[in-house]
Symmetry: C2
Subunit: 224 residues, 2 copies
DNA sequence: ACCTGAACACCGTTCAAGT
DNA sequence: ACCTGAACACCGTTCAAGT
């Protein structure tokens, strides 16, 4: 991509992310990233210990895109909703790379920051340490899943290719037996690409938050 | 593993799954699976079109482990809970391979069967086609995430290795600054490995179902 | 300190050939 | 029909060397 005087760690991560967005995570390769910087593959080893190091840096980059809202005095669940929305907003543009966030939640600085805030808010909601720890890994995992399976064309790739993928997926679903899969066939359109992606993510976050409120409520109810 | 007279597609998938469980998905390789059957790598191409075909078959195997409960006359949300519980039960033993389920939901027969039943139950709950389609990909994705991030040693690998991983993870979390990450440090133990894995999955399913009930409720409320 | 070049052990996969 | 063997283009990575 951009040939420059000095190889730079951040720039390498940037092109790695670009490759992932455009061609999928399996296309990001030491040799490929090196080539895009007109450099020998071995040059990358000055900046990352190994390929796993590159991928970890990619996870870090991904999660550092989340700008966490400052704590305020609204109810804990409203603050949690905003936190989760910020988190998912960072992953949303990069569905191909989002899988990396599974590892990154506890191994990168921005991942830990999100986890910390989520734990604090659930504690404010009256959840026990054990329950909120469980719930944290659950909800953050769910949000990553939300970004991965988001129906519709991935925002990173070129729109032409994306539309082709959507068309193909819809066609596959419509080709199914309506006797065996009546509901799937009827829902082929929204399953292939949801009408409003923003709404998709908002609803996902809402569902998670209301699930947590119920869980926190029952815990408080049974504990006294 | 087992050397036999004739190469068998199902047996190949079985050893592929075993490799994934023991050493991770990146260890399952055409050459590796072939070697375990004392056969040339090329022999696998009689049974799968390419490596992707192997992985797809692996996804199919994974999802076919779910024994779907028969429809009955209980409320839709109780049936949905049982459906999701059956689904997650199939993924639970194979956290390393569970990522494949993301693709398999709409590309394998057992994946479509689960999606079909989920859509039917949400329709019974009064959800629109669009909303239930969105929600289906959300909740099934969440369950896959649940299996992937389940804290604690993976059930597939040998226990010694698993305990080492848990110990290492706990140590990493405990080494963090308690000033910056007070809640994470305090929750290091349950984050590294939850006390009761069964409870972890039950709560995950419950949270999802209660989230859906809320979503279905507000939709019905606003639509009239 | 930062980058190169050759080399090694691994991949997936094609093609022609064996039985 | 099913499997083999050699070959090719790709990986990640080590090691010794250049500036």
């Amino acid at each position: 991509m951009a040939a420059q005087k000095r190889l730079n760690r951040e720039d390498l991560v940037t092109t790695a992310l670009a490759v992932a967005d455009a061609e999928g995570l399996e296309a990001v390769t030491i040799r490929r990233v090196a080539q895009q910087h007109d450099v020998t593959p071995m040059a990358l080893y000055r900046h990352f210990p190994d390929k796993d190091g590159l991928l970890l840096a990619l996870a870090d980059r991904l999660l550092s895109g989340a700008v966490l809202p400052e704590p305020d005095d609204r109810p804990w669940y409203d603050q949690l909703r905003d936190l989760l929305a910020a988190f998912v907003e960072a992953l949303r543009p990069h569905p191909n790379a989002a899988v990396l966030a599974f590892r990154g939640m506890v191994t990168t600085e921005p991942g830990l920051a999100v986890t910390e805030r989520a734990l604090a808010l659930m504690a404010a909601g009256g959840m026990s340490v054990e329950h909120s720890a469980e719930t944290a890994s659950h909800i953050l995992g769910s949000l990553v899943a939300l970004a991965i399976v988001a129906p519709g064309p991935p925002p990173g790739a070129d729109p032409e290719e994306g539309d082709d993928a959507v068309r193909a997926k819809r066609a596959t679903l419509l080709a199914l037996s309506p006797r065996r899969y009546p509901y799937v066939v009827a829902a082929a359109e929204p399953l292939a690409a949801c009408a409003d992606t923003g709404l998709y993510f908002d609803r996902g976050v809402d569902m998670i938050v209301s699930g947590i409120r119920d869980a926190a409520g029952t815990e408080t109810a049974t504990s006294r």
